[in-house]
Structures are given as C-alpha cells and as structure tokens.
C-alpha cells in the first residue's frame, strides 16, 4: 500500500460497464514524511476522498478486494483518508487533511 495525494479527477464517458458510477481520481504518491514520490496513478475512490487529501491506496490484485471493487477491472483503489502519519524518529506528526 502507498500514501498518495489526490491531485485531480478523471472523467470517462465510454468505459467498462462495471466501472460505471465509480469516481476516478488522479493521485500522486508521497513518502511517509510527506514528500512527493513522483509516481501517478488513476485510482477508484471507495471512501469519498477529495482534492488534495492524503489517502491510502492499494495497488494490484488486492485492490479488487476493496468494497465496491469486487470483480471489476480495477488495479488501484483508494481505501482510506489519512488523518496522520507518525514516524518514530520524528516528533512531528505529518497531518494531511484538506488544505
């Protein structure tokens, strides 16, 4: 699983019928200390994430196990909205939330 930040949305009219009604977001991966990682994914949103929120994404076959993604052509899903990331060697708590 990876941490990522929501940076955009994807709109697709023609798509696999099993993706209808699913929100597609562009996410950019970040490291646990909040820095950009340089990778992008298009992810199906299962938790009503919003713009600029830090989220938890799951990739690969496991993404299909997320609620609402069973038996659908999905390989990246947003499965959580991150409140905080706490690293043992830093006192600071990396908060995300909406900015």
């Amino acid at each position: 699983m990876l941490l990522a930040r929501v940076v955009g949305t994807v709109v697709a009219t023609r798509k696999d019928p099993r993706l209808e009604g699913k929100k597609l977001l562009v996410v950019k991966t970040v490291t646990p200390d909040g820095k950009d990682d340089g990778n992008y994914f298009v992810a199906v949103d299962t938790v009503e994430a919003g713009f600029r929120e830090t989220v938890l994404i799951v990739t690969g076959g496991s993404a299909r196990m997320a609620a609402e993604c069973k038996d659908r052509p999905v390989d990246t899903a947003i499965i959580g909205i991150v409140d905080t990331v706490r690293l043992d060697d830093e006192k600071a708590v990396v908060a995300s939330a909406r900015k």
Partner: protein, 99 residues
C-alpha cells in the same frame, strides 16, 4: 517475504469498511544484515507488531490471505515478528522487541 522494521503508524478515520479495526504501520524494508533497503511501505498488521520491532511482511495479493477467508484490500501485510536472523557473517538485526 521480506524483512522490515516498524518505523511509524498511519491513522485513517474514513476508510474502507473492511479495514476497520486493523492497524496500519509504516515499515522500512531491511536486508538480512539489518540495513535499510528501499523505500518505506505502508503495511497492515496481522500479528500485533509494535514500534521499532523487526518483522517480516509479505507483498502482493497474498498479503490479504492473512485474514483468509475474509477479503481484505491490502498488498503489504506484517505476518510475523522476528526473534532472530541467522546469516553467514552475522546479522545486525536485533531481536524484535519494544524497548
């Protein structure tokens, strides 16, 4: 499966319902000698691992089998707490344990 060390925690309030009650940790992968190898990953905990402990974790679709037959959307899961690693030349890995 890979060796790693727990270096932090992630808190999500809004998350996929399947993840409720599951602990999300930040893991730094290690090589058998105990040196960091690669970027930190976000992993679910299935064994009650704690801060600073040496653990091993598995990746990919198999990661969700820790909760089989439940289908949990995870691609990295902590599946054991390491007591000792024996490799030629010795390992600097400390026994897992809270200090």
């Amino acid at each position: 499966m890979y060796l790693g060390k727990v270096i932090g925690t992630v808190v999500c309030t809004a998350k996929n319902p399947v993840l409720e009650g599951k602990k999300i940790l930040v893991v730094q992968p290690l090589d058998p000698q105990g040196r960091p190898s690669g970027k930190p990953v976000i992993a679910l905990d299935s064994v009650g691992a704690g801060a600073g402990e040496t653990i091993y974790w598995c990746r990919g679709r198999e990661a969700s089998f820790a909760w089989y037959p439940a289908e949990v959307p995870t691609e990295a899961t902590i599946v054991a707490i390491v007591d000792r690693v024996n490799v030629p030349g010795g390992s600097k890995l400390e026994p897992g344990g809270r200090k």
